[in-house]
Symmetry: C2
Subunit: 598 residues, 2 copies
């Protein structure tokens, strides 16, 4: 026993006790006659005191201490003279009578405080030191609690956590697989699962009824800030359910998580169709912490988002609008004060290649109700007044308009602009949560690259029963029994009701362009299983890293992962990946063939 | 909503209710006027009844049903005429008024009952059908509950579950790694972790204080019946602890698991030194459900198990015993009735190559107290009487003696014989549990293959402080702060206190034959971390599959794994591993190089 108490638990009521603590030296304050040491462990910080009356030996020991030394200290709990209200232990200190240096420390390469002076690379290399920082540690504590509460809720609702294998077979659709050469089966490879999708469906065929798993998944994709080659999914599936049963069950889980972890009672989750999400927010994961919904000023196309044509409110005259297939706008409340310079910045923002708009039209509603716009010369005050009315704009508001010849593209640009304005206006508060279900996703999306319809979710997703007749006549307009849970503009989870009817499944494969042989080759084991009594089933999967990041208010999922990889997929602390021995390659019957040696 | 109740919950008190059930047709009993169907889901079996009064339409539907069809049935709960006391729902049945066939089923390739008629291979290929069998399903339910209770206990004791990466670097010691080629880092490979050993030690350096993880681990070894290439570990580590703290904490966890899952109060775990385990049971994982401890009749060698020489109780005369370095025996109570044929079987058993003894000497204690043995001609009745006394044998007992020139080898042979006798005598009852700690393992074991001392546990294991001086003089006799938890002869878990002192670690590496350069190259990232204030720490890991198998009374861990692999490392259901496309190989910069094409 190295300690009788932790550094986080002593209070005024403990004064007089003799205790032993152990931990890391956070800081040493030498005030001549007095020396104070902040001792840190996972549970908190406690002040150790050495006074004039301390023995010479003790003083000598204390003088040796440096940052991050590991020590053990025994002494009496005393009331502090000058209390620290920022620390739960701030009212007491330990008058040290015994001190042992358990381990010394080199000077750490960066400061181990709330805000470190270490750059990203340095902190990742010394991740074990970075993790000592309270902010990072708290993220891992939150993640633990989050996962535990997920399990508690699902266990209480009859779900079984069932482990599925990590060494599986390569999946035919989706992202690139990581593969693992099999020594015992030369020339053959396992794949690491991108998700346990087919396995959980087999578990439903197996009668497991309610399954979940918090499980690592793997995708060999080029990494972006918010992607990791390995990530963790809360994977769930239920049998004998319809979409409504699943929405209810997992809305309940979210409520449980918000309540037990954040202490927040969230309201019933609104449901928004995919069509409305695209029409009003230009995104299938709308950030509904704020309004600023799109107003369609012109659409000449009917698509999955807009079911009817909207004649332009603008008479002919301005070529850009005249030729546009779509004109949409948002109204930024009270932002008419935007200067010309700020508006130029916004124009630059929408013209960035990541957004891709051609330009930005704006209109300020003046205090007197009149409208002053960047297109004044093309339109009469009446037209601009009509614009104001359509936008429900008040004096002081700023109207921002985008247009283009592809409605979906412009919607996405306008969505970026809306999010930017939301951020500038302080409407995207990390401590405010707005959750919703986005439902009725289209079954398919057109792929220009593949020149065919692709499954939007995955090929096992069930169409909405009322849309099944459309499979033959207008497959692109068929809606799926698919749903996403969106919080603050982040898709935290999504899923679908699966097809359990072999004939319907075959038809879906046909529409996706598979011959029966291809379908059998690619999905044979699942198709075969479905011949032996598949129950109706459906489920969803949450991205644990994203969900936790949202609860922690993080900008990157990396900060809630103990040992993340960088954008090149490297773990710089472990220095992985690395080269392996030729003997190991020989055993695996593979050879490295670098491009230059081809 | 496909159902209002499950097939496991209806009781007499529900009679009169109209309910809807959904599930699989377990069996159809057509008795002419009456048809009974057993409907099965995860929760149980409920009888559906169709009577003479049922509509023609209903009867026609019912007549179509076959085994494993998925159906939905609505009807009134009625009291059964002939009750089935073996089923919780056996007092009621559903008089069906509506029946829907949700999905048909081909005739399954084996019966889906408690005991299936399917062979192992067939059941593995159709694992999704095998899992419908109540016995297999119950194993997965037990596993879920087991893992959940582990988490509950550890959470209550302040442990954080922290996920460590699956894509790591190749470990220098231990078994063969599975490797994963990195596309983004051509020519380089990740390895899948054999255990998160070094990562959890880094988490201790990071100040996480109490860590656990239920985590997949990977070993590319040739498989035996009780091995899987991927297996699940309950991995734990604590800081600022001594061995006693860990033993207490995890003895508590075992008590919690036995209590909450099996309803058993287990007594305090006895502790047995490794030396005693080897001396009295010939095994570091003794099955202590029964006695039959070894008696040493002669040892001429002093080793880590026997610290003193035991002069032979046999005078010269029988060459086998005369030349033996070790003679050991067990006393099988009441087994003097063994016939000559049975004794020949036992002799064959110990002579099998897996056991490896040269022969077996036996002695029966007759009803009159005299001893009749297979070596009567070499020894006087007085010597045989002395044997009887040494063995504390009573009339009716059977003494079995093995000898040889390597004490450790004979002990292991005698251990096999003891286990065999225990099994024959019904002393290895699966419903009885005997748990203990085996402690004080040696630090090293000699490897004839490598011609050097090898770490028995792993190179980070701390020696017992009192044995540290022996590191210089007699390293082979140094004991470690290492411990195993053994239940019914199965090592369910084990661990050690780790070295946190860089100098001691260096010395251990030297004894293991590493140069400082080699040590740095192989363990550098851990050694570096230890320079920044490593706390004293230790931990252990349980094999979840084994622990659960023990609770379920299984002979193989496979039966508590949803989708296990066979002895060639194949998943015959998924048909993994498999070949991958050349384009995929090209992207990964590797080539397959089969032996025949070399």
């Amino acid at each position: 026993m190295y300690r009788t108490k932790t550094c986080g638990e002593l209070r005024l009521s403990d004064v007089g006790q003799t205790v032993t603590l152990a931990g890391w030296v956070q800081s040493v304050h030498n005030l001549g006659a007095l020396t104070f040491i902040d001792l840190r462990d996972r549970y908190g910080i406690t002040q150790l005191a050495f006074t004039e009356d301390s023995s010479e030996e003790l003083k000598k020991q204390a003088a040796k201490l440096g940052r991050e030394f590991v020590i053990q200290a025994t002494g009496k709990v005393e009331e502090r003279y000058s209390k620290n209200k920022n620390l739960p232990t701030g009212e007491i200190e330990i008058l040290v009578s015994e001190l042992t240096i358990i381990n010394e420390s080199l000077t750490p390469p960066f400061t181990i405080e709330e805000n470190s002076d270490g750059g990203d690379d340095l902190r990742m290399k010394y991740r074990y030191l970075d993790l000592r920082r309270p902010t990072v540690r708290q993220n891992l504590e939150l993640r633990h609690k989050f996962a535990f509460e997920v399990r508690r809720y699902l266990d209480e609702h009859g779900f079984l956590e069932i482990e599925t294998p990590v060494l599986v077979n390569s999946t035919p659709e989706g992202a690139r697989d990581f593969v693992v050469p099999s020594r015992m089966n030369p020339g053959q490879f396992y794949a690491l699962p991108q998700s346990p999708q087919t396995l959980k469906q087999l578990l439903m065929v197996a009668g497991m009824d309610r399954y979940f798993q918090i499980v690592k998944c793997f995708r060999d994709e080029d990494l972006r800030a918010d992607r990791q080659p390995e990530f963790t999914q809360i994977d769930c599936e239920m049998s004998f359910v319809e979409q409504e049963d699943i929405l209810q069950m997992f809305e309940g889980m979210s409520r449980h998580l918000f309540k037990t972890i954040k202490g927040i009672d969230i309201p019933a989750l609104p449901r928004m169709t995919w069509a409305d999400a695209m029409k009003f927010y230009g995104s299938d994961k709308p950030d509904t912490r704020f309004g600023m919904k799109f107003v369609e000023l012109k659409t000449t196309q009917v698509d999955n988002a807009s079911k009817e044509i909207v004649p332009s409110i603008f008479p002919e005259g301005f070529a850009v609008f005249d030729s546009a297939a779509y004109i949409g706008a948002i109204c930024a409340e009270g932002q008419a004060v935007y200067t010309r310079k700020q508006l130029d910045q916004l124009t630059d923002f929408v013209k960035r290649p990541q957004v891709g708009a051609k330009g930005l039209v704006y209109a300020r509603v003046q205090e007197d109700g009149s409208v002053k716009s960047s297109v004044d010369k093309f339109y009469t005050p009446e037209t601009l007044n009509l614009l104001k009315e359509k936008m429900s704009a008040k004096p002081g508001d700023l109207i921002l308009i985008l247009s283009g010849d592809d409605a979906m593209k412009v919607r996405k640009q306008l969505s970026e602009l809306r999010l930017e304005m939301g951020a500038r206006m302080g409407l995207r508060d990390k401590n405010k949560y707005s959750c919703l279900w986005v439902i009725d996703f289209p079954m398919y999306e057109w792929s220009d690259e593949e020149n065919r319809l692709m499954a939007m979710h995955h090929p096992f997703t069930s169409p909405k029963p009322e849309d099944i007749p459309l499979l033959d006549t207008d497959p692109a307009s068929v809606r799926a029994n698919a749903y996403d849970m969106v919080i603050n503009g982040v898709e935290v989870g999504g899923g679908s009701i699966r097809i359990h009817d072999a004939k319907l499944q075959q038809k879906i494969f046909e529409i996706l362009g598979f011959t029966p042989e291809q379908a059998q080759q690619k999905f044979g084991f699942l198709m075969n299983a479905f011949k032996y009594g598949a129950p109706p089933h459906g489920g969803l999967a949450y991205g644990l890293d994203r969900f936790v990041s949202l609860f922690a208010g993080l900008d990157s999922i990396r900060d809630c992962i103990a040992f993340p990889k960088n954008n090149s997929g490297r773990d710089v602390m472990l220095d992985a990946p690395g080269v392996i021995d030729q003997t190991q390659l020989d055993e695996l019957c593979i050879d490295v063939k670098l491009p230059s040696t081809k």
